[in-house]
Subunit: 222 residues, 2 copies
């Protein structure tokens, strides 16, 4: 079954808004998609008749098993293109999202599988988000927030939990990217800010607001 660009955007947004087991509201979705609540209601009816949604009037909604599968396919396409743009075309990580929003709607299973192969079956995109495989399986890093790691134990940044240009800007300014090794030098309990540093770089401070979005890879080796 093929879906319109608009349907795909709704499905993807619902997937992101519903965590595990959560319900989504009409207003939340309309805010996410920058449309009017009335438009959302219309689309919900449509997605319900296509059996992608569990939805009863006034009760909130979430994706059905089938809807979830469709969402994972869209996210797979989005993140593979992000990886391609970043890795092959050398886009910076703030730039990839917008272009991938368009590329994700190109529907050719063969294209995506060949792209996946060409890229070497990457499991994480440039923001550290997992890329579903062709069966919808997603890998997970064992990860821990930088606010929670012990001081003076260098670890690798593996995920950024917010992709707003503002946050990406501040991270880039401090030379923090996926793969960067950081260690915490001091925690200031007054405002929960952190003094951190790279292996041979200068120390600098992350506010709590920034730090809570920075996640580190748990390393199982000693």
């Amino acid at each position: 079954m093929l879906y319109t660009v608009s349907e795909e955007n709704y499905i993807k947004a619902i997937f992101h808004l519903q965590g595990d087991e959560g319900m989504v509201t009409t207003n939340a979705l309309s805010a996410e998609l920058q449309t009017r609540p009335a438009s959302v209601t219309d689309m919900l009816k449509k997605l319900k008749t296509k059996k992608l949604l569990v939805y009863e009037k006034y009760q909130g909604f979430r994706l059905s098993a089938e809807g979830r599968k469709v969402a994972l396919g869209i996210i797979r396409r989005h993140r593979l293109w992000e990886f391609f743009l970043s890795e092959k075309l050398r886009f910076s990580w703030e730039e990839v999202h917008e272009v991938a929003e368009q590329l994700e709607h190109v529907t050719s299973v063969k294209l995506i599988d060949k792209l996946d192969e060409y890229l070497g079956y990457p499991r994480f995109d440039p923001h550290g988000d997992p890329i579903p495989d062709r069966n919808g399986k997603i890998a997970t890093h064992e990860r821990i927030c930088i606010t929670a790691i012990p001081p003076d134990h260098p670890m690798e940044v593996c995920h950024v939990g917010n992709q707003s240009p503002e946050l990406l800007d501040i991270l880039r300014h401090n030379h923090i990217a996926i793969g960067t090794y950081l260690s915490v030098r001091k925690k200031f309990s007054f405002d929960n800010s952190l003094e951190v540093c790279t292996a041979n770089g200068p120390a600098f401070v992350l506010s709590e607001a920034v730090a809570k979005h920075v996640w580190m890879k748990k390393i199982d080796t000693i």
Copy 2:
């Protein structure tokens, strides 16, 4: 100015139907696009108000200078993606067109310029068609139809003038692709068929219908 997918498809089709200086008819365009003539008329009005067309009722039409520029941009995107699919993702040349039809509508100037750079600024796509550069300039091979070359002078196939699956199938069966060196061994005047062969391969026959679509690169060296 940005155009809808539908507008872009009309512009591209008009570009292909009008040769140099030619006019296009409503029926020809409706046949090309698999729509009804009435739908074409509707779109012509729209493209005219956007100044992409030279069009007076009942008189036929062609692209304006601006329309031509837009068309070349679309064709650039299409052919760069075809090259990418063929060269990097190893699609066969029959498969590239359909996927490129979708990818060509992704509008990001930066994406296309970076892709162009990544691919090494190719000047011809997998069918031997020229890829416009970012200013709309297109390279041309000096080329000659295989029906017109003298016998026993090996030359390189540089262009295939028809991309129907049927023709591509027959060419693939005979191991003819862009870059293949062929020489004509004999011309049969009865039906204008040609006996041709590769450097060390067996001889085989091309019917006139096939041969007239096969073009060879004129080599300026002796």
